[in-house]
Symmetry: C2
Subunit: 364 residues, 2 copies
Amino acid sequence: MTHEKPIRFGILGCAHIAIKLCKAITTAPNATLHAIGSRSLEKAAAFMVEHGLPEAVRVYGSYEDVVNDDEVDAIYIPLPTGLHVTWAVNAAERGKHVLLEKPVAMNVTELDRILEACEAHGVQFMDGTMWVHHPRTSKMKEALSDQQRFGQLKWIHTCLTYNPGPEFMKHSIRMKPELDGLGALGDVGWYCIRAILWAMDYELPKSVLAFPGAILNEAGVIISCGSSLHWEDGKSATFHCSFLTYITFDITALGTKGCLRLNDFTLPYDENLGFGTFHESSELDYGKIEQGRWCPKANEHVVETEFSQDVWMVKEFASLVQKVKYLEVKPEKEWSVMSRKTQLVLDAVKDSIERGYKVVEIGS
Amino acid sequence: MTHEKPIRFGILGCAHIAIKLCKAITTAPNATLHAIGSRSLEKAAAFMVEHGLPEAVRVYGSYEDVVNDDEVDAIYIPLPTGLHVTWAVNAAERGKHVLLEKPVAMNVTELDRILEACEAHGVQFMDGTMWVHHPRTSKMKEALSDQQRFGQLKWIHTCLTYNPGPEFMKHSIRMKPELDGLGALGDVGWYCIRAILWAMDYELPKSVLAFPGAILNEAGVIISCGSSLHWEDGKSATFHCSFLTYITFDITALGTKGCLRLNDFTLPYDENLGFGTFHESSELDYGKIEQGRWCPKANEHVVETEFSQDVWMVKEFASLVQKVKYLEVKPEKEWSVMSRKTQLVLDAVKDSIERGYKVVEIGS
């Protein structure tokens, strides 16, 4: 695909996460940053200067201008969740491919409008979940799939929390119902659910039951919650997400013969050092347990990486867009499917909380 | 207390765990192994030889004989849970102090009979939860109580599992309703609940809700289950326990400012090497997160120990018994209180499962 030109990205808004994506787009070999738009031209121009973006990048004083720029191939949308459906549909209708920050929508009905627009206009869709693109993730999947060492997956627990403090709690868009109205469930619970689905090969659970005692702010936005998830064949999972405690990015996956654990699954500790690690253990000698020893400490596996995970994400997305643009291949739909399943489970957990902690069956 | 003689222990039965306790009693400076009884004299004698116990240890062909031995001060009871109430009450009534293996009873009603007998006869009670006696545990408590680094405790997750295999599932006493009828909930869930209560300063939760999808064997014994636990002030916890997966001894405690994690909390990885470690982290620079770095890796704290945790348990128990015996001090009741609270929560989780996953309020 050496004859194919890099995919030209336009970015809507100057969200904090956009800084990271600007760098990722500039770094990815098959992508280039073409335009950035904010609600004010001054703000966009200041963002350019502050983050040292190339002068060739076009600066717009509205999102509309970015979407209408004929030279933009793909739009990255890091806007508050409440604005996603409007701008993702808008972009798709103008034939722009859509890289959409998570959580992708307020609910699956909104997401379906986005996905239908992408389908109708033949554009590629992908959500902004970065960790799944790190080479470590596919190595972890190999470990989980190793019947000899890991056995059958039975149970998963994920936990994502951070404590952004009182200013955030008062003023952040993540605390406003009309902006990021899914609160902690959308911001970090999204990762918990996605990781569980990833480990379960994207098999949807049969039902969920949220933990009683979810904590909401005065406007009804979730600050802390969790849920158990249940599969037909007896597999189960739990997760906890919160804006109230110290940072954790934990996953524990338990198989009949082995265990996989990470405390940095959404962002490797040493992302900038060109590797990620994961821990697995198996081959226990049970006879030693009651003599004061049990399993050996977990094995640490080091996975080297040429790029950080955000660059891998942009590269993979741009590569799919190149295929659509230059090879007239249909957009790859697996990314829509993963996003939609994540949203379905997220909706069910929210529903379980709103219905006073009732079991909620997962629809399709 | 140098004038006080070591406490003389009698052991009921030749359970696997008794091997460990024989060594612990022999090692503890204030304890001595006096007698061991089995339902058959041959079995007890074989156990003596197999494990190289001192010839001075008396061997009996019944539990009754051990309890009736006038020179026995304290009885260690590693019998199946279903036999605890009979033998613990029997021992207390004969004025023997009671060190009772966990889970202590089939339910709190049975436990109350045991505790009332101990109270009535002025004997010391303690359950066989070893990890709380390791010096590491009090160091971890200090870390959890450090308001500056850890902040307020908000959430705990514990997970204890192992996969003992198909032979165990068919034949183990832990799979028989009339013997260890609490199954995985009693065998490993006991530790999960105890650890949660320990971290919460033994404040009882307001309610529990078991996770749907608990797995029971044909006889109705729990093989795998879990629950969420809820406190009046918004603190919460979850646990998972199972006989179906690879071994885990995990605890994660989350505070507003810090995190404490262990994957070996019930038995340190290197128990025989004279130390235990624990991991805590705090002091995060949030500004670095979105630039591809987040908190530093957890700090590992090494806690040296003169004895293994089973010896510490025996030593602490024997020391309390010495006070009762030689200083005419009343038995220390905090150990009964901890056991009873653990059993109360365990009963509530079992109740929640049996009632089809309803919220169960915790009584007193």
